[in-house]
Amino acid sequence: MTEESTDQATPGSQETVPEQSPLALVSGKPVVDLPKDLYIPPDALAVFLEAFEGPLDLLLYLIRRQNMNILDIDVSEITRQYMDYIGAVEAMRFELAAEYLVMAATLAEIKSRMLLPSRESDDDEEVDPRAELIRRLQQYERFKQAAEDIDALPRLERDTFAVSAALPDMPSSQPHPDVDLREMLLALQGVLRRADLFTSHHVERERLSTRERMSAILSALQGDHFATFESLFTVEEGRLGVVVTFLATLELVKEQLIEVVQAEVLGPIHVRARAVS
């Protein structure tokens, strides 16, 4: 609905109110009122219907157009107008939402009840048949207004924009993932199963402490230098430690990772890594 007011009242129409907004714009021309002969350009009616959010919205529009108070609706007048529109729509064979027909029936019922003389005029229990309709119209009108209020709130992407600035070089501070030992073992189990190593591979038999010591010896031997054999041992580790170191040394020799040199019989033994890093 545009706010544009117009004087293009259709001749012959009796309920034209002086200042009213057009029902629809067809090819730029406002269609103000539905002529009595129901000749309406079909496009206009379609646009007209789409402009409303349902029967309550249409009723509110009709009430406004008649400058009626929502609390004091002239039911027969509103019903007549409502039916005119509905009739026009049906005549044009537009599909009409069921809600509009339900409202038509409701209006007709209210109208008929209002025509009946009330049985006892002083009866307090007598309820205005319009009451329920008025209640619904009021309720709807509140939220129609609320929707407009929400639309008027300042909002992102229209009235304001979130701002951001580019980042400078950032220190990489990726935290390390946590690992559960069992998780690692589970992974290992997977490999072993895949490689079918449970039965055949020698991985299983080796003492881990020996392999650990092998790594320790190798890293102690980093660089192209000889170390004395004795320096590989730590007395404080006791007999078991000596044995582990000895086994590790043997394994390293076997795997050709270190070389052992003795210049003379009973002379000092020296070791060094074979491939110098």
Binding site: L56, L71, D159, T160
Partner: protein, 212 residues
């Protein structure tokens, strides 16, 4: 806490808000600092006031919204900034806004309840759009046949519309029930009569009587 120190916290907060490009809560801002240098909540709140003042006269402002503090373009400059973007700001249909209004003011509310008030069916598209925009979410199901979903608004809704809470929504206009209106009309008539009475009438009623 000297001024230099506060200015530094203010600059870091500003830098972080600009880097984030979205609201940060007071605690999120405080957590940027290591434990030893972390400002107390009150200090941080004070710093936010300082920052807000420091943005005066600039292109952006500090705004408190539901999720925290946000730096945003001053509304006065939105028309110029808007030209940066090809797309015109999206307009929302009345049907969508009415549905949103009902969810905002009546939450938690089912689709059926919305339809009762609007008098028309609410299209699934509208609900989907609202959910996708994360303005509303399902907060439960009503314990009636069909167990319909109940909708409520989200923090993102508040953020988007520049609010810190639902209490900042424009007040819903009052519905005056018929009885109340009846009483009002009666009162008005009463007042009118009272106003007219001393002038026009001079019948023999006792002057003390105020009720007519």
């Amino acid at each position: 806490m000297n001024e230099e120190h506060l200015l530094r916290i203010q600059a870091i907060a500003e830098a972080a808000l600009l880097a984030a490009g979205k609201p940060l809560s007071l605690d999120q801002l405080r957590e940027l600092f290591s434990e030893q240098e972390r400002p107390a909540r009150q200090v941080m709140e004070h710093v936010m006031v300082l920052l807000e003042n420091a943005c005066e006269g600039r292109g952006f402002e500090l705004k408190k919204v539901a999720s925290g503090y946000r730096l945003q373009v001053r509304q006065a400059y939105a028309p110029w900034v808007g030209r940066l973007f090809e797309d015109k700001p999206q307009r929302y249909s009345r049907a969508l806004l009415e549905t949103l209004a009902l969810i905002a003011y009546r939450q938690p509310v089912t689709r059926g309840e919305i339809e009762d008030i609007r008098g028309v069916t609410v299209s699934s598209n509208i609900i989907r759009t609202l959910l996708e925009r994360e303005w509303v979410r399902v907060v439960g199901h009503r314990d009636v046949p069909g167990r319909p979903a109940m909708y409520a608004t989200t923090r993102q809704f508040l953020d988007y519309f520049n609010m810190t809470g639902l209490d900042q929504m424009p007040p819903l206009s009052e519905v005056r029930d018929l009885e109340e209106i009846g009483r009002e009309i009666e009162k008005n008539i009463q007042a009118e009569i009272e106003f007219e009475s001393p002038a026009a009438e001079n019948d023999d009623e006792s002057p003390g009587q105020t009720l007519h």
